[in-house]
């Protein structure tokens, strides 16, 4: 077993991807390429799963075969038989921070990645400072009955809880990629917060270091019980490689009465990745669900976090940022379903397109019958940095009841020559001025991020912007 690290040097200068890196790991077990019943059964077997999960997977595979590819969004050219669907990472590599090549450390510094995350990314699994910190947090949480494990572990250790909710918010038949994930999923986070428990600090995926939580087909399930609250932060802003070009996750969140959940994701994918993610939450009476979603990179991202407001007083908020550059298409948006009276929704979407990149906002607001006094507001702003880049807006609004308030504002702007001139007349270089304008544009969202992520986000934008002008 050996682990080596290579720096990808073939990327274009000036793009974020010059900082890409990946870890080559030799797997203990690697299913052969391709997708069929045998592979799916094998995955289930390797994981020692109960019968019901094995059946769930196999049924999902049939659904996957039956479902057609989405006919909207972006162009998807994936050869499903040319993918490894399961790769069990080697356990306990024992790499230390000292083993990590200087070049990579420098890159992390450049990106301003938090120390804990750096180590995680570099595959440091021993001497992990945060593990100590997290260890005591974990104890604290455990005392209160909070469960925070990877989903594979959850299936083994909390089978009843998992079985009760798994696949109920996003059934395999929801869409082709949800079906695929349901058949071959691996890793992801499972969180259960008992009634009344309010977790004050954000739970971060990278603390959960032994898990396979950055897989291609991760599966996350969060249950926030009555009156409880949690903020979950996932992903990281360093470019991520998966061994294959498809990332297809499913995230299900259940917010019971009076509870609150915020789910923050910042993802920056390498240019070859199809990132096709289904994220959906249900919010019951007076519960609040917030999605904060930042998407950078990838070849194509299709992601529309959804909140179904099922009972009176439920709130759903979705904040999303997309940044697309050369060869990238971000088809991102949001979906809000008002299924009860006095429900409140908000969508704020910001997209930036640069250097030939393409960003689309695709959003659906649906107010079901019997949802009087529902209120919803949608704001989507697009910023286009040069004439080669593109932005589109596809807002769908379906209102099936009366006495509802739905607002929609959309704006598309180009970085104005006048704004640039204004800043430059105060001594800012053209590059500094554009970066400042872009950072200002996404400020309303960055303000919502935990501090270290906000800093990272700004740096990332700066790296994306570097060398783009002049």
């Amino acid at each position: 077993m050996s682990t080596g690290m290579t720096i990808d040097t073939h990327e274009e200068i000036g793009e974020i991807n010059k900082y890409n890196f990946r870890t080559e790991s030799t797997a203990v077990f690697k299913a052969r390429k391709g997708l069929d019943k045998d592979i799916v059964s094998q995955i289930s077997e390797m994981k020692n799963e109960p019968q019901w999960m094995r059946e769930f997977r196999l049924n999902s595979l049939d659904v996957f075969y039956a479902k057609r590819m989405p006919t909207w969004g972006g162009d998807i050219a994936i050869d499903f038989q040319d993918i490894f669907y399961y790769l069990k990472p080697t356990d306990h590599q024992g790499r230390t921070w000292d083993d990590v090549p200087q070049e990579i450390k420098d890159t992390f510094d450049k990106l301003g990645i938090p120390q804990a995350e750096k180590k995680y990314l570099a595959g440091v699994k021993a001497q992990f400072e945060s593990e100590v910190v997290y260890g005591s947090l974990k104890e604290d949480l455990a005392k209160q009955g909070v469960i925070f494990v990877d989903t594979d572990t959850a299936v083994r250790e909390y089978p009843d809880l998992v079985r009760q909710y798994f696949g109920t918010i996003i059934p395999p038949a929801d869409n082709k990629f949800a079906a695929l994930n349901s058949a071959v999923w691996s890793g992801g986070s499972f969180i259960y917060v008992p009634p009344g428990v309010k977790i004050e600090f954000p739970l971060q995926a990278y603390f959960r270091i032994n898990a396979e939580n950055m897989g291609q087909f991760e599966r996350t399930l969060i249950i926030v019980d009555e009156g409880a609250s949690v903020h979950y932060v996932e992903g990281c802003t360093a470019p991520m490689y998966t061994s294959e070009s498809l990332h297809s996750a499913v995230v299900e969140v259940i917010c019971k009465r009076g509870s609150r959940c915020r789910y923050t994701t910042i993802q920056n994918w390498a240019n070859n990745i199809y990132n096709l993610v289904t994220k959906r939450a249900v919010a019951y009476q007076d519960a609040t669900m917030e999605w904060v979603d930042g998407n950078l990179g990838s070849k194509l991202t299709m992601k529309y976090p959804a909140v179904y407001m099922m009972e009176p007083g439920a709130r759903g908020e979705i904040l999303s940022i997309a940044f697309s550059s050369k060869g990238q298409h971000q088809d991102a948006g949001a979906k809000l379903v008002h299924a009860a009276p006095h429900t409140t929704g908000q969508i704020i979407s910001k997209s930036i397109s640069k250097n030939g990149g393409r960003s689309s906002y695709r959003g659906l607001v649906r107010v079901e019958k019997g949802s009087k006094h529902a209120r919803c507001n949608v704001v989507c702003d697009a910023l286009i940095l040069d004439p080669r880049s593109r932005s589109d807006t596809y807002p769908y609004i379906e209102i099936l009841d009366q006495d509802v308030t739905v607002g929609h504002e959309a704006s598309v702007s180009r970085i104005g020559e006048e704004q640039l001139f204004y800043l430059m007349s105060r001594g800012l270089s053209e590059a500094e001025a554009s970066t400042m304008i872009v950072n200002g544009f996404i400020e309303p969202l960055v303000r919502e991020l935990p501090m270290e992520y906000a800093v990272e986000m700004n740096r990332l934008i700066q790296l994306q912007m570097e060398g783009s002008v002049g």
């Binding site: 001139f421 007349s425 304008i437 544009f441």
Partner: protein, 276 residues
């Protein structure tokens, strides 16, 4: 050395429209010049061209600072050399806090050789200086946390421009109608603070229609622009006369320039009709 800004036979066009037809003007550090003239005569254009606005093409003539050609420099380089304009219509930059913007700007202007990404001036010193200058301008400290010109009233915008002048301490500053849209008290405050921060500490080119702004900034020279040229230059008394009597005498004395001015305005109307 006494710094000198020299504009020689400046001709400027936008698209194919000629706006300035041979402007000559020399300013020395410490002097105050008033620039007056009817609407559409080219005053703002002159200011924007000195600053380096990319929308204007200089077809002939030169602008030099202490003998160095300014025309070949980008606006940020000109700012770092000590040129400043308080805009007639400042731009809004949503999401960018005044304080962040000003710290960047102040750093670059004070350290003209700073490269992108290099350190900014120390936060503490900067804050202290900003705070005291804002107090002098009777600005709420909250102002520093607001987004650049976002939701500012007309008066706040003009005050913010003066604040920038105070922070950047240029060698030459153009003030383009920094008094327009302000009430009497606000104009007095603007006049006082320009005197406080700018008078004798830089060369001032004050573009105005009134004499209030000049109250505390008595001009050493007054220039009158008409039809894209400076047609008369006098002292402080010329500004008073124009404010009292308007431009009729000037128009009669310079019928060619007057005709050019009217033509430009007619073009504007025609252009507006065409796009309407």
């Amino acid at each position: 050395m006494i710094h000198t800004l020299t504009i020689t036979n400046l001709h400027v066009s936008v698209e194919s429209k000629k706006i300035l037809h041979g402007v000559n003007l020399e300013m020395k550090y410490g002097q105050t010049h008033a620039l007056m003239g009817p609407n559409g005569s080219g005053k703002s254009t002159l200011g924007l061209v000195i600053m380096g606005h990319p929308g204007y093409v200089v077809t002939e003539g030169s602008i030099t600072l202490d003998g160095d050609d300014l025309l070949e420099l980008e606006p940020d380089q000109r700012a770092r050399r000590g040129i400043f304009i308080a805009f007639q219509r400042p731009m809004t930059i949503p999401g960018v806090k005044m304080a962040d913007f000003l710290r960047h700007a102040t750093t670059n202007v004070r350290r003209p050789d700073r490269k992108e990404g290099e350190e900014l001036i120390a936060m503490r010193d900067f804050r202290k200086e900003l705070k005291s200058k804002m107090e002098q301008l009777k600005m709420d400290p909250e102002f520093a946390r607001r987004y650049v010109n976002d939701g500012f009233s007309g008066g706040e915008m003009k005050r913010a421009e003066i604040l920038q002048l105070a922070m950047l301490q240029p060698k030459f500053a153009i003030l383009d109608e920094t008094d327009s849209g302000l009430d009497a008290d606000a104009v007095r405050l603007a006049s006082e603070s320009i005197a406080e921060f700018g008078r004798d500490k830089m060369g001032l080119l004050i573009i105005t229609h009134h004499d209030k702004l000049l109250e505390h900034n008595r001009p050493d020279f007054t220039h009158v622009m008409l039809g894209g040229r400076i047609v008369e230059t006098g002292g402080a008394e010329l500004a008073k006369e124009l404010h009292a009597n308007g431009y009729d005498r000037i128009r009669k004395a310079h019928p060619d320039a007057d005709a050019a001015n009217r033509r430009m305005l007619q073009d504007d109307v025609a252009a507006e009709l065409a796009t309407a």
